[in-house]
Amino acid sequence: MRKFTLLDGLVMPLDRANVDTDAIIPKQFLKSIKRSGFGPNAFDEWRYLDHGEPGMDNSTRPLNKDFVLNQPRYQGAQVLLARENFGCGSSREHAPWALEDYGFRVIIAPSYADIFFNNCFKNGLLPIRLDAEKVDALFKAVEANVGFKLKVDLEQQTITAPDGTSYKFEVDAFRKHCLLNGLDDIGLTLQHVDEIKAFEAKHRAAQPWLFA
């Protein structure tokens, strides 16, 4: 997994609540058996005017100029600013894959759906929870200032705006450690092989039918 430490990134606002994972990456792209290449189809239905299917040449498709992702001022954005319950719906990890592949490294929203939130950390993507009022203030700041960037420091757990306003954010210690060091969960868990085996033996004795 790619490490995340520090970022000074352009912010793109996505001003709607309950953005679901099918909006982030529509189902037809889930037929892929790969992990990469989903970026050009991130937000496909909002982003293009035609219907997207896997295998299309996305560079020739008609763009929805009104969709924020297509506005010139947000090209190259790495921070996605969103509203409540971001990433709800299907558990597809293709959603964080698509966001990461597009170029986002940080998401800031008042709340997330649990499974999506979890999936982000496995893919070098940092989802930050911030109070709704603070998120609202950021929406206003982004809209008012072309080229608005935020500095995100995972070690310090801070977000800093160009005018110096700084917000502290919470992050789970274990996830922070994994993200800072780009650690693979499976490798870490397998350090506890003996404990897993011991548990399994005990569990088998208590509920033998689970192992029949």
Partner: protein
């Protein structure tokens, strides 16, 4: 020892280790696998030269991409076909039990797990699919996971997790005529919102829940994720135990007796503390119909499409306006005046035998309305289909003008050919009415099987409780 919730019991009995900050390794008893969220996990195993920890704990089935008509011809979409073939190849290579597309036991992963007895009380169950919450109906701890976690569970038999908070949703009383588990689910979501259960494991309790069949409990737990809760659950009782007996993967003989005794302990203790409590009066629930693009946008069938002017805040108002525009609806329209174009009865929410029976009972001797272009019934599994045919339900439905299909996810998410065209309006028994869920531009109204069948006959929504 202090009183424990069912969730406490399930959690405590699966903790392998726990760090000071609460991050735990949880042992997983069952992993269900399907074609969409597993290929990258198998590939990860291969790249790291890892083997599955306990291959017998896994059960695989293709469901999302399979065609529901003319299956003998195979899958025509080459990309979908490759995905199903990849599942077949991975299962063969790693030694997983798989019910292939043409196996009678094939079906939607959340239908076949319980049907086979592969989901049992007291288990931890995971699957790379958010509706894994369904299996909580068996007093199991069950939730959806992402593909990285699918790989993690395959390799280590464990999941890295933190304990959620516990919410009790208590539904007391008796449901009215024509009111189902689906209506309880939608009414609860309407009450607490789609993020109301975020961070919680929900236990559904109360006399109305105890009175539900296992299938009804599955419908309810299935929708827990639509309330934001990764896991939903119901305590084990006689209904649970009777359902589990004699299924292919269920314990037998001496093991059955031991299991049964243990399962009887799987309920919240008297006086157990929940972090949140939601109370619902069963008698007050009417048949529900969603009007918008989120399951929380729901009203009773005798209600009206709400007016955004009455939304509680600005973000919601904008949401409602956008939803009405997408759905092509005017504020204040009576729900029972909304005309529909298509009907979909099926999915992991309502694709079981009782759902088929409910639809057939409504459709018997009637005809699908002329304005309804397509009314399809998609059984949740090959065995559900066979059972329904044995009972003659297929004949009733076909005579009424419904299409009777092969099992799979079908128009629940429209990954295969079953989908809505832009602007088409559908009464669906599935679980999500998001924009584009059933096809780009498609408009979905979530309802119970009874309500969907009745809408097919009338051509618009009608109140089945009348």
């Amino acid at each position: 020892m202090s009183a424990k919730t069912l969730y406490d019991k399930l959690w405590d009995s699966h903790v392998v280790r726990q760090d000071a900050d609460g991050t735990a390794l949880i042992y997983i008893d069952r992993q269900l696998v399907h074609e969409v969220t597993s290929p990258q996990a198998f590939e990860g195993l291969k790249l790291a030269q890892r083997k599955p920890w306990r291959v017998a704990s896994m059960l695989a089935v293709p469901d999302h991409n399979v065609p529901t008509a003319n299956r003998a011809a195979g899958i025509t979409d080459p990309i979908a076909r490759l995905q199903v073939e990849t599942l077949d190849a991975n299962c063969a290579e790693f030694g997983l039990t798989e019910f292939k597309m043409n196996d009678i036991r094939q079906g939607i992963v959340h239908v076949i797990g319980p049907e086979q007895g592969a989901t049992l009380p007291g288990m931890t169950v995971v699957c790379g699919d958010s509706h894994t919450s369904t299996h909580g109906a068996f007093a199991a701890l069950a939730h959806g996971i992402g593909t990285s976690e699918v790989e993690h569970v395959m390799a280590t038999q464990c999941l890295v997790a933190k304990k959620s908070k516990a919410m009790q949703v208590k539904v007391e009383g008796v449901l009215g005529k024509g009111v189902t588990a689906k209506d309880i689910a939608l009414a609860v979501i309407g009450k607490i919102g789609t993020a109301g259960g975020t961070g919680f494991a929900i236990e559904f309790a109360g006399s109305a829940i105890r009175a539900l069949s296992m299938e009804g409990r599955m419908t309810l737990c299935n929708m827990a994720i639509e309330a934001g809760a990764r896991a939903g659950m119901v305590a084990a009782d006689e209904t649970t135990i009777a359902y589990c007996q004699g299924r292919p993967f269920s314990p037998q003989g001496e093991n059955w007796e031991k299991a049964e005794a243990y399962w009887r302990t799987l309920h919240s203790d008297e006086g157990a503390k929940f972090d949140a409590l939601v109370e619902v009066d069963a008698a007050q629930i009417k048949p529900q119909v969603t009007w918008g693009t989120s399951p929380e946008m729901v009203v009773a069938v005798d209600g009206r499409v709400p007016d955004p002017a009455s939304a509680p805040d600005a973000v919601k108002r904008a949401d409602w306006e956008r939803a009405l525009a997408y759905m092509g609806l005017q504020a204040n329209t009576p729900i029972n005046e909304i005309q529909i174009d298509k009907v979909f009865i099926g999915s992991c929410t309502n694709g079981r035998i009782e759902d088929m029976r409910a639809a057939a009972a409504v459709a018997k001797g009637k005809k699908v309305a002329a304005n309804v272009k397509l009314a399809m019934v998609v059984p949740g599994s090959g065995l559900v289909k066979a059972q329904a045919e044995q009972e003659g339900l297929d004949k009733i439905l076909i005579a009424a003008g419904f299409e009777w299909r092969d099992p799979g996810c079908s128009m629940c998410l429209a990954m295969n050919d079953d989908r809505l065209s832009p602007g088409e309006r559908c009464a669906a028994t599935s679980n999500r009415n998001f924009e584009g869920r059933q096809g780009q531009g498609g408009r979905t109204h979530l309802v119970s099987p009874e309500m969907a069948a009745a809408a097919a006959i009338a051509g618009h929504f009608v109140d089945v409780s009348n």
